[in-house]
Symmetry: C2
């Protein structure tokens, strides 16, 4: 992440606007505020509103035009949305939700407490209510929960001209019009036609003659991450979603996928750092939530450290203080070497660059790399002990102790790399999550193994030299 | 990552096709192979080709239609591309590159050795050569390097009908036609018109009357990551790219951004794992490259472990073996607690959920969470030492030693959390990369601090009890 000039410029502008609005609020110049906030991108308006004192936010929000109000509302944090809903009249609530796309409305509803949900759903007409309930019933993280149910459907016997007429007639309500879906009277999906295809054909051509009949679809119950991989791999702009009976129910567009990818990555990074993932942005998480997400792994790792304790106690009589002083270095370097390998492989698995069947290839690569790394680090370690610790700091490290430590380091690194690269693949094969084993598990295993290696080498080599 | 049924189904199909092609190769049934590979998604064709024995790949590639050949070539790995180019005749080389979009061609060229680049550029006509050279000259990771120079430009006095005529005439060559750019005769960007806008207006309307004149642009030198953030934040399908004189030079589409996001995330994950990031997919990296990316941080961390050695040597006389045996646990738990905080904050900074000005808010949250976490872990640690290590394993842990260890653990966790949450923010403020400090740096700092706390508490409390 380098300096983000482009975004920073826009953020500066937003800050300027926020100051202006605050000043205008003091002057009670609502007409001017209305002009400013209705002329901004709704993402920025949402950010501006959230900068305002709580009591000023609802009155300023009410200055938004009907359409801007809905678009801005969608962009706000759950807390702000709840605050607004609590001061909305029923008519205002209905106005905002009627303007929203259905999938956005469902996203809002999913985060609200039960009494608020009830109030929102009561305002909706019966058809919308039914659709909302249906979407709420799709399994967590499924395609059904991120699709939009608004799309353009065409009939196969229509001509290009008729299709354009249809798009003109209904298109302004649809989130994307560029992919249109040809269905029969039972909503069965027959083909896909892009506006590009329409533009490339004569107005009088029947779309049945050129519609794409070999298309990819997702089912409502498919995992949204696999939908994201599909859209990303095949460079799609949108993907139709069908139910078990192959009836068209919605579409997923590439911009929805950007959000999914961001969310999934945040999840993977959390898991690699031994945190239970959360959908809530950090600043909106309560202390209690943060505690809950972090305590399980810390407890597991605390208990598993019993093993390192056992090893140290077992070799206690044999190891001199000088050798003990190197334990953190051995364990630390081993841990780092292991997590380098495991993070790399976990990420490669996640983006599909490595498949489980590549495991021999991976193993061979890591073995060679780890020997090279280990040799260089062993030499560096020997030098550090003799020069920095020995000559400079005056600790009585002799060449045989330095050699033992260096050899142990070399073996630790090779072992850490092999464990680090194999564990995520093993997890994937066992249908477990590679990200979870990537870091916390591997550190513990490598800690214990490296300690055993170290103590074993020290006790077996020391008398021999 | 759950089970990916959707993608797995497609992968199975691909495996089936690969087997089929291998069988047909034995039977020399090239007609059938041609039918199969020209009917697949080019991403899959690329994968299929790479599964074939090296000697079979070029002849099968030659069975692809002109257009499929170019699209498939773009999807292949750099190694395979180089192999193909080495067997291509000059005419074949020209045919493949002429069919490619310019930005794809540049992506391929960037990865090739100098002699291959020369051969490719020599095949191109002079205008293309000039464009390729210009793109190759944009700074690394800039908007200029990911944009496509092929887009639809319109004139402001044209009517909707004239615009559609224009799109029909040139559109089949353009990567995306859905956003069109209204420029004057000097290529200065005046407005943006989407095909959706065109469809929503009468055929005889002049586009000047409804084109969007308040639009976002990127400059060729803007960082691609900030372009990605912009497109993601404002839900754009494409973004025009202009030069310093505000002349239109290209566009960036949302599907390009998916790749950027994937790449940037991979980079961040690598940095957090103390690996220098690489553009090359793991399996294509040589052992030497892997070594080069991993050795620097391992060396730095090895040398910095001198400090933990100093601390242990300094307190060596005071600490009993029992207390020593707890060192890995204290350091390990501290390290985990610190990286939980640092990874969470680094990711929140990366996606813009946390800004540096939120640092007091973050600090307060982490302080409360860390005290709660620390208390629970201290109690767990006390219990573990007395019950598991004491009663079960028979080590002579007394309640005062267990208490000292637990108190040290509590303090370590609080400290680790505070260091962990502040360092990434500090890095961001200093315009450094939060991902780099997120893990390797923090582990070292936390290791040393936790050791000092532990030894200091042990030496100062032990006589007192």
């Amino acid at each position: 992440m380098e300096e983000l000039e482009l975004m920073e410029g826009l953020q500066e502008e937003l800050k300027e606007h926020t100051k202006q609005v605050m000043q205008l609020l003091k002057e009670k110049n609502f007409r001017e505020i209305k002009a400013i906030i209705n002329d901004m991108y709704t993402q920025d308006t949402a950010q501006l509103l959230e900068e305002l004192p709580e009591k000023d936010m609802p009155p300023v929000f009410r200055l938004l035009s009907k359409e801007n109000a809905a678009d801005t509302f969608v962009e706000m944090s759950t807390d702000s949305q709840e605050l607004l809903i609590s001061v909305f009249t029923d008519a205002e609530l209905k106005a905002v939700f009627d303007e929203m796309f259905l999938d956005d409305a469902v996203d809002v509803i999913e985060e609200m407490p039960a009494n608020v949900v009830k109030r929102i759903i009561n305002q909706a007409d019966s058809k919308t209510r039914q659709q909302i309930n249906q979407i709420l019933n799709y399994p967590k993280d499924s395609a059904g929960t991120i699709m939009t149910v608004e799309y353009v459907s065409l009939r196969s016997h229509w001509t290009v001209r008729e299709c354009f007429d249809r798009i003109r007639q209904v298109g302004s309500d649809k989130e994307t019009i560029y992919s249109c879906y040809v269905t029969d009277t039972k909503r069965k999906l027959l083909g896909v036609v892009s506006v590009r295809d329409l533009l490339m054909h004569d107005y009088e051509t029947e779309i049945a003659t050129f519609m794409e009949t070999d298309f990819l679809v997702a089912e409502t119950t498919d995992d949204k991450e696999s939908v994201a991989q599909l859209i990303s791999k095949y460079d799609l702009f949108s993907l139709p979603v069908v139910d078990k009976e192959n009836r068209m129910v919605g579409i997923i567009t590439v911009d929805d996928i950007l959000d999914v990818v961001e969310e999934e990555t945040t999840e993977d990074i959390a898991k690699m750092a031994a945190v239970l993932p959360s959908d809530t942005p950090y600043l909106e998480q309560s202390t209690w939530q943060i505690w809950k997400n972090r305590i399980p792994w810390l407890l597991v790792l605390l208990i598993s450290s019993t093993f390192t304790g056992i090893v140290i106690n077992a070799y206690e009589a044999t190891l001199s203080a000088l050798l003990f002083a190197c334990v953190p270095m051995i364990m630390g370097t081993g841990g780092n070497a292991g997590s380098q390998a495991s993070s790399t492989i976990t990420r490669s698995l996640a983006v599909g660059e490595v498949q489980p069947r590549d495991f021999l290839h991976v193993l061979w690569k890591e073995l060679r790399a780890s020997v090279l790394l280990g040799l260089v680090l062993a030499v560096a370690c020997f030098g550090k002990l003799m020069l920095i610790d020995g000559l400079l700091l005056g600790y009585p490290y002799t060449w045989d102790i330095a050699l033992i430590v260096s050899v142990a380091l070399l073996l630790t690194i090779v072992l850490a790399k092999l464990v680090g690269c194999l564990m995520p693949i093993l997890a994937k094969v066992c249908k477990l999550d590679p990200a979870v084993v990537a870091s916390p598990f591997i550190t513990t295993i490598v800690d214990v193994l490296s300690l055993i290696i170290y103590c074993q080498i020290a006790t077996s080599l020391l008398p021999a030299i």
